[in-house]
């Protein structure tokens, strides 16, 4: 029953049609929120007492690191769906999300590095958070490499899903090692449950730019998944009819 339900709502065809309709909304909302959040953050938010103006990198750095992890968790959910219910669409989505994840992880890493120069006096530290983000980046690339190594794409889908699911256990494990290592990194600025240690005048632009980046990445995901789905299903009738 549940399988039938999932399969009905996860046909690549209806996904492509639905996301094509949603795309304008996401891209407009995403870009306008990014412009709003970043203008606010860069030009209007007050200067940080300790770090001066260099902290303004936070409005790009923090959202990208958040999505670096969120995209991986999204992929892990898809991987489970693919392994348990054999949902093809889920595998397509993993394959299209992985490069985006790698890209945003890279942005997070390098913005953090540059931020480190004025604040810590060094662009790299063997700190647990930075290292785990670097490992996350390598994991994204590993997943893509694994998928590219097999000519039987259905086999590649399943192997990739297995790796993604195993990898998701790894992220909290590596994060836990923050406690084991002496860490240089400031504790996370925003926490979901407790009160934030950050002033509202900095928090709002940060939240806006985070949501904006999310929408932007979703619309990027819509584009890349569309091209991937079309190329994978090119022998299907609905694809020929659509084009």
């Amino acid at each position: 029953m549940i399988t039938a339900f999932i399969h009905k709502f996860s046909s690549p065809k209806s996904f492509v049609i639905l996301t094509e309709k949603l795309y304008p909304f996401f891209i407009i909302a995403g870009v306008s929120m990014l412009i709003l959040g970043w203008t606010w953050g860069l030009l209007f938010a007050p200067q940080d007492a300790v770090q001066g103006n260099s902290y303004r990198i936070i409005f790009l750095h923090v959202p990208s690191v958040i999505f670096a992890e969120l995209i991986y968790f999204f992929m892990a959910v898809c991987a489970l769906m693919h392994l348990v219910w054999r949902v093809k669409l889920a595998a397509y989505l993993i394959k299209s999300a992985a490069p985006i994840g790698a890209m945003i992880t890279f942005i997070g890493l390098f913005s953090g590095s540059i931020w480190g120069i004025p604040t810590w006096g060094t662009w790299w530290q063997w700190d647990a958070r930075i290292t785990s983000t670097l490992i996350l980046f390598i994991m994204y690339l590993g997943i893509l490499t694994l998928h590219a190594s097999f000519s039987n794409l259905e086999k590649a889908d399943r192997l990739m899903s297995i790796l993604v699911v195993i990898g998701v256990v790894n992220i909290p494990l590596i994060k836990k090692s923050v406690d084991w290592w002496s860490t240089l990194h400031q504790p996370a600025s925003i926490s979901v449950s407790g009160s934030s240690s950050i002033d509202p005048s900095m928090l709002y632009p940060l939240l806006i730019s985070a949501i904006g980046l999310g929408f932007t990445l979703i619309s990027l995901g819509i584009l890349s998944s569309r091209s991937y789905i079309l190329s994978r299903e090119k022998n299907k009738k609905w694809v020929s009819e659509r084009v």
Partner: protein, 58 residues
């Protein structure tokens, strides 16, 4: 809250000596995202072309 922290354009660029870091991060970050969009759009075009070719030949 909505008063600009900066008085003129030069201050914005300079950001108290940290301008080079801040602006380079945003410049590079935005261009990476923009390039990804361009690549994704190009891919869709290529796939469409391929499928059209296939349709024409069959």
């Amino acid at each position: 809250m909505f008063n600009s922290t900066f008085n003129n354009f030069n201050e914005i660029l300079d950001m108290g000596g940290h301008g080079i870091y801040v602006w380079s991060v945003y410049l590079i970050g935005i261009s990476i995202i923009a390039i990804s969009f361009l690549i994704a759009k190009k891919r869709i075009k290529e796939v469409h072309k391929k499928i059209k070719l296939k349709n024409a030949s069959s």
